[in-house]
Symmetry: C3
Subunit: 351 residues, 3 copies
Amino acid sequence: MKLGEIASRLGHEVIGKEDIEITGVATIESAGEAQLTFLSNIKYKKYLAVTKAAAVITDKAKNLLEGQSGIISDNPYLTFARALTLFHKPEEPFKEIHSTAVVDPSVEMGSGVVIGPYSVIAGGVKIGSGVTIHSHCQIYPDVEIGDGSLIYSHCAIREGSRIGAGVILQNNVTIGGDGFGYARKSDGSWYKIPQTGVVIIEDEVEIGAGSTIDRATIGSTVIGRGTKIDNLVHIGHGSIVGQNTLLCAQVGLAGSTQVGNEVILGGQVGAAGHLKIGDRVMATAQSGIPASVEAGKIISGSPAIDHRAWLKYCAVYAQTAEVFKEVRVLREQLNELLNEKHQPRNDRQIS
Amino acid sequence: MKLGEIASRLGHEVIGKEDIEITGVATIESAGEAQLTFLSNIKYKKYLAVTKAAAVITDKAKNLLEGQSGIISDNPYLTFARALTLFHKPEEPFKEIHSTAVVDPSVEMGSGVVIGPYSVIAGGVKIGSGVTIHSHCQIYPDVEIGDGSLIYSHCAIREGSRIGAGVILQNNVTIGGDGFGYARKSDGSWYKIPQTGVVIIEDEVEIGAGSTIDRATIGSTVIGRGTKIDNLVHIGHGSIVGQNTLLCAQVGLAGSTQVGNEVILGGQVGAAGHLKIGDRVMATAQSGIPASVEAGKIISGSPAIDHRAWLKYCAVYAQTAEVFKEVRVLREQLNELLNEKHQPRNDRQIS
Amino acid sequence: MKLGEIASRLGHEVIGKEDIEITGVATIESAGEAQLTFLSNIKYKKYLAVTKAAAVITDKAKNLLEGQSGIISDNPYLTFARALTLFHKPEEPFKEIHSTAVVDPSVEMGSGVVIGPYSVIAGGVKIGSGVTIHSHCQIYPDVEIGDGSLIYSHCAIREGSRIGAGVILQNNVTIGGDGFGYARKSDGSWYKIPQTGVVIIEDEVEIGAGSTIDRATIGSTVIGRGTKIDNLVHIGHGSIVGQNTLLCAQVGLAGSTQVGNEVILGGQVGAAGHLKIGDRVMATAQSGIPASVEAGKIISGSPAIDHRAWLKYCAVYAQTAEVFKEVRVLREQLNELLNEKHQPRNDRQIS
């Protein structure tokens, strides 16, 4: 594809040679001679002089070296992602409803639905147009799946779950498993509380491989529109996650956790239940969130505190044992001084 | 169902109108006009005045407002759970042994067994009466499954595992995968130690979606009667977990970990191997347990310490950098005082 | 099997009676009278006097008691593992290509391939000789699997992944799921970056149940030869893991993490992206690795610091609140001393 055509498809201006043939997209360090690359982080600017790339997506024409071609975009990283999409046409592994798919007669389906081998669609399920369900999926009764959603192999979507349009579930995802709820009996054993609620996954959500989103005890567990969830994430029953939020790998939300819009929780973050994490909160990796967090805060640590306070803590915590020892020495020395002060001069001469 | 009938089925006394028609159960904040709710935590007492619920399960008649109907129970939360069960009759998605199930001729089965589409039951397996196995499960050779157990889709139960009666496995659970055991060879590579043991899951255990319970190298990995395990939990090979214990989501037990009865490990807790966690220990979320813990202790932190000591730590740790700086200032000021004291007065006049 | 034959097969010398009949292998505490055991950790030496074992694998003949038989090996633990292998002949649950396996006509296969029921092998896949694929696996298009690899049930291997020879995937593993990559749009929503790369799993790698290895955005995610990965581990897109490395359960590597050879990351360790962990680094359980780590370092804590410094921290951190209080008292007392010093003696008499 010519550089000019790429720019035109992406709606951006070309600097330099429009007719260079571009065969793909790569990072600035690895790009070959017929590839397009991008500069979005200024610390990579040094690579501009050495990259072999045929052209560079950047936000300012003046970043480009003499004679270097480029595409100008306010958001070079987004434009790179969109350019990558132009060159990435994955072959679909499944193309129709496979003869081995077990589809209940009561299932309602739009046009262009693809269902892979050995998937099972139970009674009362509604599947929108253009939905693709890969192999070995189990769609339990009364699930709804919106238009254009893509469900990879081995997903289990439990009874009554509602999946929006344009949703992507990577492999091995479980939606709507029973929440972890028990009432203690007098003999110390646990009575299972029926998990009568559902899970609602809104439009444009993506969920990573192996993640589990539990159904609510009563009501709904909700993942808001446009939210992206990484692999092996656990969402406890009754949690409500807002829109355009990112939950990185191995995050865990206990029950009834409320997470706002445009929140980012780093890898392995845990949040206790029955709390509210405000809009645009960021929690760095491994944070433990024990209580509600105000909108816009950046937090870190376990238990999580203000990110800047935590950075200061991190810079010195390795010295803890030495400092504590110093405090003991200070105490001894100060005690000596205080003792001297409180003892009459004569006493000291006697002793 | 009339309020009186509900109370009678649950074995409790009604206060107020026995003939109110109840259509469901809900939380005190969300209950509608024909719903039953409960008050078990005193901090929700304020909602009694505003709830729309037709009746309230509570432990003392005097909690109810003038004219409010209720059910009196020593354990309102348990009674709520049992009431919820009365109203929750989930439709079973599978009703018989599906024609696509692959069942080895040597399999022994009790009465009323249900096996979903595309499940595979290998040779030598014994399945008790009333067992339900959903779709896409693989039951490996010589597994035993006790009466009335319920196994959701996509579970893998490896060779020789013994599953008790009344056990529930949520979707995507792996029982009896090989333990993580290797012996180092002289060239730095790892020799796989055969994992020759089994997994024993006792009666009434429930295991959450995506969890993995590894088989022992030699002997057994055991999950004790009535223990409940949440999603994405890892139990290492040779671990022995007691009875009525709760392991919350994303907990990890290394190999040969012993966990007592009625223990509660919060979300993302990790325990090192070859240690013993006593009965009724509680570890709050994200605790790291490096060594054995006495029965009855409440612990927190990584590494875990006494919970109250940890709370004190949490209250102040954000001040660490400031306090350490203060210690340095104290040191300097004290040094000045000490220097003065040790210098003769005349010297100071000269300088 | 006679003790002499075991020793001969393992290439080691026998001390004592070569003709004892051995029926199995067990730990020194649990071994019965016809079993072989081992002594590799000197702290178990006390059990030599009480073990019922017929013979003991040990590194020095002099460890054995008077009349005790044994096998002498430089590496008793490895020899124990190899002896265990002699006695462990697991029955293979699947023996051929099952009639229900869906194998695309374009698939190329070596000899002796086994494919379990309901597995699906897509177009363009190449499977080496002696490969065993259990039930319910989905091998996506253009995957290559090397000779002798063993893939347990419910694995999903996504398009273009390359699996080496002698690889073992435990149940429910996902190889090549999309990496977690999005570009932010001006309205706050996220644009999905196509994950155009692949995953390369080199020879002799083992991956535990439920683990997920994401495909790279561009290029490859690589797991090096001989590396062993435990259950529920997440490997982010573009990460490169070296050879003979151990990643314990629930480890998470963010994107583009480089891990060296013979590294050991303990359970629940997390590593940030775009960093390099040198060869032979060890990180203890729950460590959080925020930045690159030099080869050979032992680290602990979150954020991770030198292991010895961390042990010192652990020994005292429970005293933090008390020490901080002491610092405040020191400050007050020192202030009093300083005030006195700076006040003329006469002033004090007046006041």
